[in-house]
């Protein structure tokens, strides 16, 4: 067990180190988030709608699209010089590779997701301070579900001729529940409603994230077999 965690830790640390040295994905996703918010500003008639009304939907859609950009690059670094074959040939179990890759994606996307909230606070005067802790938990659970499905299906789509273009077709239908419960809970928090109202949504998000991680680590071995 300790060995298993060490293996996950090693791959995770490698991915984090590479990313924090090159900062490729974080910069791209971060820039995307800010630019999207600028475009949203011009795409919305702020006289007729107030930020609170549509913010939760916009926040979640921004996270989803930024996430696509991020997880789509999961295996690119290794694909370039055949390094992924090396990882697959190493005695590390396949589910440990999956968990490490998904957790690395989680770290990047969670940073970006919090940036999304900050950007909406800054640009549109969104009031989040009342329930910020709970909001961070809800977004964290949604991001967990996203990276589990995203990492698994990125491994699928990188093997096809279509590459990353296929990724949204594969994961968006599966992510519908995450968006529904995520926006539901988020809009309740933004409206300052009591926590008990969002309890059902949070439990469902946790169940989806758990299920996605379980299935991902179970099925990843079939995806990277060759």
């Amino acid at each position: 067990m300790r060995n298993y965690l060490k293996q996950i830790g090693t791959i995770l640390w490698k991915d984090l180190l590479v990313e924090f040295r090159t900062r490729e994905r974080l910069i791209t996703m971060g820039a995307f988030v800010v630019l999207v918010a600028i475009l949203f500003n011009y795409a919305t008639d702020w006289v007729r709608v107030s930020p609170e009304d549509i913010a939760s939907g916009l926040v979640w859609m921004t996270i989803m699209f930024a996430g696509l950009l991020g997880v789509g690059r999961t295996f690119h670094l290794e694909a370039e010089d055949g390094a992924f074959q090396g990882i697959l040939l190493s005695p590390v179990p396949k589910d440990a590779i999956f968990l490490a890759k998904a957790l690395a994606n989680f770290v990047f996307l969670y940073i970006v997701a919090l940036l999304v909230v900050a950007v909406f606070m800054f640009f549109f005067g969104l009031e989040v301070s009342r329930n910020f802790g709970m909001l961070a938990i809800v977004i964290g659970l949604g991001v967990l579900a996203f990276v589990a499905l995203g990492t698994l299906f990125t491994a699928v789509s990188t093997g096809t001729r279509m590459g990353d273009t296929l990724l949204p077709v594969l994961i968006f239908p599966l992510l519908a529940p995450v968006v529904i419960y995520g926006t539901g809970a988020t809009s309740q928090f933004l409206a300052g409603r009591p926590l008990t109202e969002a309890e059902g949504s949070i439990k469902m998000l946790a169940a989806i994230a758990l299920m996605a991680f379980f299935l991902g680590s179970l099925l990843f071995r079939f995806v990277v077999e060759d």
Binding site: L152, R161, L219
Partner: protein
């Protein structure tokens, strides 16, 4: 069962299904009584509801065959999975076309975010992904494995999608009241509907077996041409 027998069984079942379907059409146009409030548009039900059932059956079979394929790695299971998935796509498309036509007249709108509607549309896209993965992967063996993973996750996600879309709707009640049919259905309507369920199921099984034996022939052709080129 030899491939010839499968082909024969498929042909016979598909024929029975087609004749049966003809009888269902006759019943739904000339025999069954017209529903009072919706008028003749309600007759769409005899196509729509059985198509829905058949597509769920087909997608369920596709996911089941996919799971066993990953386990046993028998090529025949993959052929069965793709045959079932294709049947599912056909019947889901029928359901998605007839649904809005009926909805426009019964509810006054083509589309409503009704849970079952949404679920089916998402399911249609999941299996679209299944076929895209299969056809765009260069190594066919890998394509089969990847597609199987898509089918399994898609099938297991159904409960979550179903729960979430119901939950979503309860937050935003629809202005139109969806007519609850169910056990209150009059006798002749129930007979026609059950006949239609039978026709669709038999037709699907026939088409499935035909498609499966077609897939067998194609792989045999592949093997032979590979031998010939060597």
């Amino acid at each position: 069962m030899s491939s010839k027998k499968i082909l024969l069984a498929g042909t016979v079942l598909a024929m029975i299904g087609l004749v049966w379907l003809g009888a269902v059409y006759w019943m739904s146009f000339f025999w069954v009584s017209t529903e009072v409030t919706q008028g003749i548009a309600q007759r769409i039900m005899y196509v729509h509801v059985p198509a829905a059932w058949t597509s769920f059956l087909a997608f369920g079979l596709a996911a089941l065959f996919s799971a066993v394929y990953l386990w046993l790695r028998d090529e025949r299971l993959d052929r069965a999975a793709v045959s079932a998935a294709e049947g599912g796509m056909v019947f889901a498309t029928i359901m998605l076309i007839t649904g809005p036509l009926w909805g426009k007249i019964a509810w006054g709108t083509y589309w409503t975010w009704e849970p079952r509607l949404t679920l089916t549309l998402l399911l249609w896209f999941i299996f679209l992904g299944y076929f895209l993965v299969r056809s765009s992967t260069e190594n066919p063996e890998r394509g089969k494995r990847h597609a199987a993973v898509v089918a399994i996750i898609g099938a297991l996600d159904i409960p979550f999608i179903h729960l979430s879309v119901i939950w979503f709707r309860s937050l935003h009640p629809e202005p139109v009241v969806i007519k609850a049919e169910g056990p209150t259905l009059p006798g002749d309507m129930l007979t026609t509907l059950l006949m239609s369920f039978g026709a669709f199921t038999v037709l699907f099984l026939g088409l499935f077996l035909l498609r499966y034996s077609f897939e067998n022939l194609r792989s045999e052709l592949d093997t032979r041409s590979r031998h010939a080129s060597v």
